[in-house]
């Protein structure tokens, strides 16, 4: 039996290859994802091991509450310069130094920012003799000139990649932008390798200054103004790095500092260098795991689609071998043996495709990286990591998917009666009433699960539930879809009055189950593409409405990358408007505000008290005075929730409304929550800047937050100022500070929408995999059908069908299958999209249907069908008429 199976399998190599391909692509995608993220993980691990090189312990501010991590502003307060001396005086400590890592954007010689999507850092560089942190490694010579550490306030050193990309030589002038001070020029005196690696920064850029200069440039010198270098004792640091006495371990160093700081222990965090590295790696790994999950979802979709193809191929080949299987049964093979034979075949296909898939996956890493960087995600590269886990998961997934998909066909094969060997035709498929029942049941169950996932629960479990529900709905509709195959074929070929169209229609309707399951594979891809298109369109439309209807603006200043920018920009614009037009106009700043309400971190937005001059969002019962004094405006959703206090000193919680006080914790406010006056309720806010449930006035910002950086600034020019004159001022300010762009309202909207499009585009490309797999499924099914219909094709040719007509028949059948599948997908996708958008109504997103786009998808699917039909059509047309009519 085994020998029989293997011989059978390898006698049809082309089929084996096509069938395998469906799994190979899915497994390859999965393996590629793992290899890519593992590689990135190891790169970052090395990078962070480098950042703490030489550091035994770190003293830093305590995080007041765990930030959710998506804010540009850190909640961890800096530590004062005076702490360096205190730490140094601890016994068993050889030295301590303050360190900063802040924002510094280097411009090349023609004024363009040198920046990928990776961050751009500025830092201080201590003399190599005393430096504790050894992560900055000087390159002795740069293009023939001696490279050294910056020692004066006008000197800078750059990392190798940045120096290369800017074509800088030692002695060149380098212009650099910062967050809190205007851009300045420096003389390049040195080039360094971070961690001693040529690519140690993983795409980030680094500019190093003298430490005291860095404090001024990177907003760590609040105690002194008008200085170039921060005087000792006046500034602060992100953290203090400590070197222990010879022979002491990191833990001993940490413990002795902790013991010494016990009284002030609440204020500072003391950890070992290793702990810091681990923490940073863990942070990055968490981000990577989101990224990994994101890609894996698409890989799983591909595998799922591949499963349909495997199921279909095995079903067809089992049907075609009915006589042969009947003969085996007649010769004494048991049903179990037949199942065994088919399962073994699936196992071999599974192994074959998993191994190929794994190889493909390794080969896919580079293109995947290229793809992501084409969509603006530049990734650092390093030695490729192929972990045993990747190999195991890929093999198991590939084999499992193949074998599970073959179970139903195998069982059908076992049901073939010995008498089938004697019959001329293969058995007609069973009526399938039970199958339809199961299909309906599965669809219903899936819909319920999805409903619950979207509206009844929350968190990541809900997302998993929705995913599983979607898979069940796909299975259910795939089981039901044969009901629609016949009418769909008739409908699609109705415009064609030709005999070829009629024949194609009949062929598609001949075995509705086969047509439907071939189409279902495409359905999945199209449904997801549609879903994404709808989701994207809805989000875009919502955003566009927010800008068009709820925002009044002449200009918007926003960051070029993701990082927030200096509030000095807004101030400068105001001042220049005032000087030129006699009025500051309306310059409204928006800031991300990490706060804690009722014990959980949440995102709030900070905005200028005069925000209403640029916003149409209605605020109910607005108490302007209270807001100006640092009050909070709450959303409709929070209004009435039992989170507030009746007075600033009360203890009992009461429903929130204007006049009550909301207890909030801010990064700088210490352990106790502060009672903030509720100054209004905002309704139906789609406008930019209304993220979350709380809007805080900027007026009391500095006492509450450690950093003050704007996310964007909305500007209305003063009355009487011409747009051109105002634009000149805004543009020149943006240019002077660097790192930001100033756009008019329409351009801002377009550029934000373009970012949406970029993400959508990436997802489309990732879904393309599953669509390609579905097309392979169509090719495979058609090729098998043609093999099965050799006689019939011979007859058609004999009675005068031309090759061209025959090709048209096959092509039309491919078009029927692909358009049927994509229409099914479209309907399901619209349903999913509507459901998901409805579940996000709280976030202000409203449903919107991208009709043109969806029509284009169907047309593309039809074209893809034509393409998929080419190969089988040529095979059919090449059949030798004589051999076809005389073949058995």
């Amino acid at each position: 039996m085994i020998k029989f199976t293997i011989r059978n399998l390898f006698s049809r190599k082309f089929r084996l290859l096509l069938t395998s391909l469906a799994v190979v692509l899915g497994v390859g995608f999965m393996a590629g994802t793992f290899v890519l993220t593992d590689t990135l993980g190891s790169v970052f691990e090395n990078l962070f091991a480098d950042t703490t090189r030489g550091v035994d312990a770190v003293v830093r501010g305590k995080e007041p509450f765990k930030d959710r991590g998506h804010h540009g502003t850190s909640t961890r307060p800096p530590v004062p310069d005076s702490l360096v001396a205190e730490v140094t005086s601890v016994s068993g400590i050889r030295g301590a130094e303050g360190n900063i890592l802040g924002y510094a954007l280097v411009q090349n010689k023609i004024g363009e920012a040198i920046q990928t999507r990776a961050p751009t850092f500025g830092t201080g560089w201590y003399s190599e003799k005393v430096a504790i942190n050894k992560s900055l490694v000087r390159i002795p010579k740069w293009q023939g000139a001696t490279s050294r550490r910056p020692v004066a306030d006008n000197e800078v050193a750059l990392d190798r990649a940045t120096a290369e990309s800017g074509k800088f030589r030692i002695g060149d002038s380098v212009s650099i932008s910062f967050l809190s001070v205007p851009p300045q020029s420096f003389t390049l005196v040195g080039v360094l390798d971070f961690g001693g690696n040529e690519n140690g920064l993983a795409g980030a850029t680094l500019a190093a200054f003298t430490p005291a200069r860095a404090q001024v440039l990177l907003n760590r010198c609040p105690g002194a103004t008008g200085v170039l270098e921060c005087p000792t004792g006046a500034g602060s640091w992100d953290q203090i790095e400590v070197l222990g006495a010879k022979g002491t371990s990191e833990i001993e160093v940490r413990n002795s500092i902790r013991a010494d700081f016990q009284p002030a222990g609440l204020k500072y965090d003391v950890i070992t260098g290793q702990q810091l590295a681990d923490e940073q790696v863990a942070n990055v790994k968490q981000n990577l795991s989101f990224f990994n999950t994101f890609l894996l979802i698409f890989a799983l979709v591909s595998l799922f689609v591949g499963a349909f193809i495997i199921y279909n191929t095995f079903s067809i080949t089992v049907a075609q071998r009915t006589r042969e299987l009947g003969l085996l049964r007649a010769l004494g093979a048991s049903g179990g043996q037949v199942i065994g034979a088919v399962t073994l075949e699936a196992f071999i296909v599974g192994i074959f495709s998993s191994v190929l898939g794994l190889a493909l996956g390794v080969g896919l890493v580079k293109p995947l990286e290229g793809l992501l960087s084409a969509f603006g995600l530049n990734l650092p590269s390093g030695p490729m990591q192929i972990l045993p886990r990747t190999i195991a998961v890929s093999l198991v997934a590939g084999i499992l998917v193949t074998m599970v998909s073959a179970i139903a066909p195998a069982r059908r094969a076992a049901r073939v009666a010995p008498i089938a060997a004697l019959r001329d035709q293969s058995l007609p498929p069973s009526s399938g009433r039970r199958r339809y029942l199961w299909g309906a049941l599965a669809t219903l169950l899936g819909l319920l699960a999805m409903g619950y996932g979207l509206f009844g629960s929350s968190g990541s479990n809900a997302a998993v539930l929705v995913g599983i529900a979607a898979a069940i709905i796909f299975l259910g509709t795939a089981m039901l879809s044969p009901l629609l195959a016949r009418p769909a074929a008739r409908l699609l070929m109705a415009p064609s009055r030709k005999i070829t169209g009629q024949l194609a229609e009949q062929n598609a309707a001949r075995n509705p189950r086969r047509t439907a399951s071939t189409a279902s594979a495409l359905m999945i891809g199209l449904a997801l593409v549609t879903l994404i298109a709808i989701f994207g369109e809805s989000a875009k439309q919502t955003f566009a409405t927010a800008i068009d209807e709820q925002t009044k603006a002449d200009f918007v200043i926003s960051p070029k990358g993701f990082l927030p920018f200096s509030p000095e920009i807004a101030t400068t614009v105001r001042n220049r408007f005032e000087a030129k037009f006699g009025s500051p106009g309306a310059v409204v700043q928006y800031r991300d505000a990490p706060v804690e309400v009722s014990g959980s971190a949440t995102s709030a937005f900070g905005l200028s008290p005069d925000f209403q001059s640029t916003s149409n969002v209605p605020v109910r019962n607005f108490d302007r005075a209270a807001f100006k004094q640092g009050g909070v405006i709450i959303s409709d959703a929070v209004s009435g929730a039992r989170r507030c206090l009746a007075s600033s000193t009360a203890k009992a919680l009461v429903p929130c409304r204007v006049g009550t006080f909301l207890p909030m914790r801010f990064p700088s406010s210490g352990v106790e929550a502060i009672a903030v006056a509720v100054a209004g309720v905002f309704v139906d806010a789609k406008a930019i800047g209304y993220r979350g449930d709380y809007l805080i006035s900027l007026s009391d910002w500095d006492s509450r937050f450690t950093d003050a950086f704007d996310q964007f600034v909305i500007i209305l020019r003063p009355d009487g100022a011409s747009t051109a004159a105002a634009a000149k001022i805004v543009n020149s300010v943006a240019k002077e500070f660097g790192g930001v762009k100033a756009q008019n309202k329409a351009d801002f909207k377009d550029s934000q929408l373009a970012q949406f499009d970029q993400i959508l585009g990436l997802m489309y490309v990732l879904l393309l995999f599953s669509v390609i797999i579905a097309l392979i499924g169509i090719i495979n099914a058609l090729a098998l059908s043609i093999y099965e219909r050799t006689r019939e094709i011979g007859l058609l040719r004999a009675v005068g069908m031309s090759r061209r007509q025959l090709r048209a028949v096959v092509r039309d059948e491919a078009v029927i299958v692909s358009v049927f599948g994509s229409l099914l997908g479209l309907v399901i996708g619209i349903g999913f999209g509507a459901a998901i958008v409805a579940s996000l109504r709280d976030q202000g997103i409203s449903f919107s249907l991208p009709v043109t786009q969806l029509v284009i998808f169907v047309i593309l699917a039809a074209l893809a069908g034509v393409t998929a039909g080419i190969l089988p059509a040529r095979r059919a047309a090449r059949l030798d008429v004589l051999r076809a009519i005389s073949s058995e």
Binding site: Q425, K498, I499, Q502, L503, Q506, N507, A509, R510, R791, E792, L795, L796, R797, A798, V799, G800, M801, S802, R803, Q805, V881, L882, I885
Partner: protein, 255 residues
Amino acid sequence: MTTSTTKAVLSTSASASAARAVGASKIYDSGDAEVRALDNVDAEFARHCYTAIMGPSGSGKSTLLHCLAGLDRLTTGKIYLGDTEISSLSEKQLTLIRRDQIGFVFQAYNLIPTLTARENIVLPIALAGRKPDAAIFDRVVDTVGLRDRLSHKPTELSGGQQQRVAVARALVSQPAIIFADEPTGNLDSRASSEILGFMRRAVDELGQTIVMVTHNPNAASYADRVVFLADGKVTDELANPTTDSIIDTMKKLDS
């Protein structure tokens, strides 16, 4: 290449023969030994005449039929359909000739399972993109007695009915010649004689030309003339045959 030009080429023929093989040889090269399926065959098939080709298995009768019908190509020699020499025609031209000038009846698998009897009958006309002539269609359908079976699929028809549909299909496009390859090979004797009777009437009443391969003397007795083949050569001929005279000739050839 339009159908009308092909039609014109063949219909200008003044030749009395509908099909002609001249020095026809077909050699299969099977490695060590070459097999001469047809060995320098000369044969002529007259218009409005019902000719049977007989011979034992391997005599080359099916090969001759396939070559005459443009389904297979000769190694050497020429095939004329009317005055058109078809061995030099392209695959495309052959397809058009098959569609417009030739009717086929095979032993089995004559019909497209997804099409109804009516659709099967008009298939060659539909492939040519034309509409069937209603009068001819009716006459043919009535001749073979299929009126009440037209909307049935092949699986709903008996073997005899299926072959009647095949005959109707061959007749309805009014081809210059019909080739039948063991048309009754799979039928019982009653269904066989029905089919053979229809073919006879097609020649007598509709003026058709039929060339039929068979190994059944009774079937061959419906023909106007029998051509005997053995080892790829024409060995004998019989005009106005009867079952007995055919059996006698076969015995003679065997000995």
